[in-house]
């Protein structure tokens, strides 16, 4: 995980549930790229088709509520999202995303401050987001120690592989 990175922003609303992030009719799919092509189809099917590699999804409160489907963060990663920044996240989605190594950043009020197409610079260690166009700095919540440990390892899979000696 890079400590600092920048990306173009796609803004969505409050209570974006995992059915909107990844509609139920695609749940039998298992190929990552195919899953990514349907990301956020419940909000707007055009989002995945036009999403820039390394882009950042910005959301309001309770992003990822609803079903526990891991397809939701798998879709975000495969769509090319480098991070999701939201006013708040739902719990199971939070765990699933961190496990996949997708950084989630809680930044209260962000969804009202940035607009589609703007660029934000995220400094995870300092917990600061800078809006490139306005140079406005926003303070983020610190991630918990456990979540940071998993993210720094690149997700739960590399951690478990070293614990079980799978790479030796």
């Amino acid at each position: 995980m890079k400590a600092q990175f920048a990306g173009k922003v796609t803004v969505v609303g409050n209570n974006i549930d995992t059915d909107q992030i990844y509609p139920g009719c695609f749940l039998a799919l298992t190929d990552g790229k195919e899953i990514g092509s349907h990301c956020l189809a419940g909000v707007d099917e055009a989002i995945a088709a036009n999403f820039p590699e390394g882009g950042i999804v910005v959301a309001g409160t309770n992003f990822g509520c609803g079903s526990s489907r891991e397809h939701a963060p798998i879709a975000l990663v495969n769509m090319g999202a480098a991070a999701v920044v939201a006013d708040s996240f739902a719990r199971i989605f939070f765990r699933n995303a961190i496990n996949l190594g997708l950084p989630l950043i809680v930044c209260k009020g962000i969804s009202k401050k940035v607009k589609d197409g703007q660029t934000i610079i995220i400094d995870i260690e300092k917990g600061i987001i800078t809006i490139e166009e306005t140079r406005e700095e926003l303070i983020c919540d610190q991630l918990g120690e456990q979540a940071m440990k998993i993210l720094e390892a690149g997700g739960i899979k590399p951690l478990m592989r070293s614990r079980f000696g799978a790479d030796e």
Partner: protein, 419 residues
């Protein structure tokens, strides 16, 4: 400590835990549903060889029961192979029903345990005094490898439900009321303990409805102190000895809410959010809402009690020619009981379609998908855009009685005129 904290402490080998601490706890039962072939992939990607304990993990094939297409059928094949390779003692194939009904029936749910499943509605098992919580595929794979999972000990909110429900008000209406007040993110990362005289007198099915929808408030888990009904239920079924945990009298909740159930009336969660709750009376007063599909089923509203009230309302009647009612019993056992009691026959005579026990159209997988512009009144748990098919369809969440009365009239209807 709270009973939930005692469960977490016991399973993580500690004498005390406090809210905010991270603990690694042993999992008493782990369940994987058939949306989650990724669990098997993650298991092998992480170097997994064998499931840690073949008596404590099982698949339930409920979301695609029976398989609606080649892809889901192939996923089932791969999961069956994994189950066979690991010689899993319990296996619930497409002939069983929804995991949250099937697991208690099979006796793998009991007080004082931790159950984790790849399904957000695992909060249901708080009805039995268990700590149930949902997770994703890769978290589940780590459980299958280690038998453990890390948890943040949650803050606990008390929701006290006092009084007796009036006629026409069901557990579904009660939890919709709580949801409408606390909102969809009212308990994120936290646990909800439902207490009060209403909860003390609630039967097993009613308790499951209330705990089931705690996740729609964002809760990590739900809890109810087991009552006589629960203890009688688990004593006949539990496959392991169990110990009921009790909350210490001096435990301090992070927040407490009190709701008087006796003044409630039938409610609806209106499109397109679970917390967009209004009274049936208000919705009807705003003008008639035509209904094209009624749906009674799921881990929320597909139990014997739910099908019984629908049968009572529809017995000897006929639903309108251009409307449809879909009944999805929550399990094989539920369906057999409903057949023995004649409910299924009464509903079919009234024009209902009965489908295979399972999750069905609740999540838009199959068996009752909605077209653009359709309106469904449903006893299920979510009305997000596109949840049951087209994002241009409207879903109203209601009690099974409201569903039955509404489909009978072809428009949203107060069930109190029909019971």
């Amino acid at each position: 400590m709270h009973a939930i904290e005692k469960i977490l402490a016991k399973n993580s080998g500690r004498s005390v835990v406090r809210a905010g601490e991270i603990v690694t706890a042993k999992i008493d039962f782990a369940e994987i549903n058939d949306l989650y072939l990724q669990t098997v992939y993650s298991f092998y990607e992480m170097g997994g060889k064998k499931v840690w304990d073949n008596t404590r993990a099982a698949f339930v094939f409920d979301h695609y029961a029976p398989a609606p297409d080649i892809k889901s059928a192939t996923n089932h094949l791969e999961m069956r192979k994994f189950a066979r390779d690991n010689d899993l003692r319990f296996h619930f194939d497409t002939n069983c029903g929804v995991c949250h009904q099937v697991m208690p029936e099979a006796g793998v749910i009991y007080p004082g345990m931790i159950v984790v499943a790849t399904d957000s509605h695992t909060t249901t098992h708080g009805a039995f005094g268990a700590m149930g919580t949902g997770c994703g595929a890769t978290d589940m794979a780590t459980i299958l490898m280690t038998g453990e999972l890390w948890f943040r000990v949650p803050e606990i909110i008390q929701v006290r439900l006092a009084g007796e429900a009036p006629k026409g008000v069901y557990p579904k209406d009660v939890i919709l009321h709580v949801l409408g007040k606390l909102k969809a993110d009212g308990a994120v990362y936290k646990a909800i303990d439902f207490t009060g005289s209403y909860v003390d007198s609630l039967n097993v099915a009613g308790r499951m409805v209330v705990c089931n929808m705690a996740v729609e408030i964002g809760a990590k888990t739900a809890y109810m102190q087991p009552n006589e009904d629960v203890l009688e239920y688990v004593s006949r079924r539990a496959v392991r000895p169990y110990e009921v945990q009790y909350t210490d009298p001096d435990f301090e909740y992070e927040e407490s809410y009190v709701f008087d159930v006796s003044i409630l009336e039938p409610l609806l969660a209106c499109p397109h959010s679970v917390d967009n709750v209004d009274t049936l009376a208000n919705v009807i007063a705003a003008g008639p809402v035509e209904v094209t599909q009624g749906y009674i089923g799921s881990c929320t509203g597909g139990r014997e009690e739910d099908i019984a009230i629908a049968a009572e309302i529809l017995c000897g009647k006929e639903i309108p020619k251009y409307a449809r009612l879909i009944i999805v019993p929550a399990s094989n056992e539920v369906m057999q009981i409903c057949m023995e009691k004649g409910y299924i026959q009464d509903l079919m005579k009234a024009g209902a379609t009965v489908t295979t026990p399972g999750c069905g159209a609740c999540l838009g997988a199959h068996e009752g998908i909605l077209a653009p512009g359709e309106v469904c009144v449903s006893s299920t748990n979510r009305n997000f855009p596109g949840r049951m098919g087209s994002a241009l369809a409207d879903i109203y969440l209601a009690s099974p009685a409201t569903v039955a009365a509404s489909i009978l009239n072809g428009r949203i209807t107060d069930p109190r005129d029909h019971i």
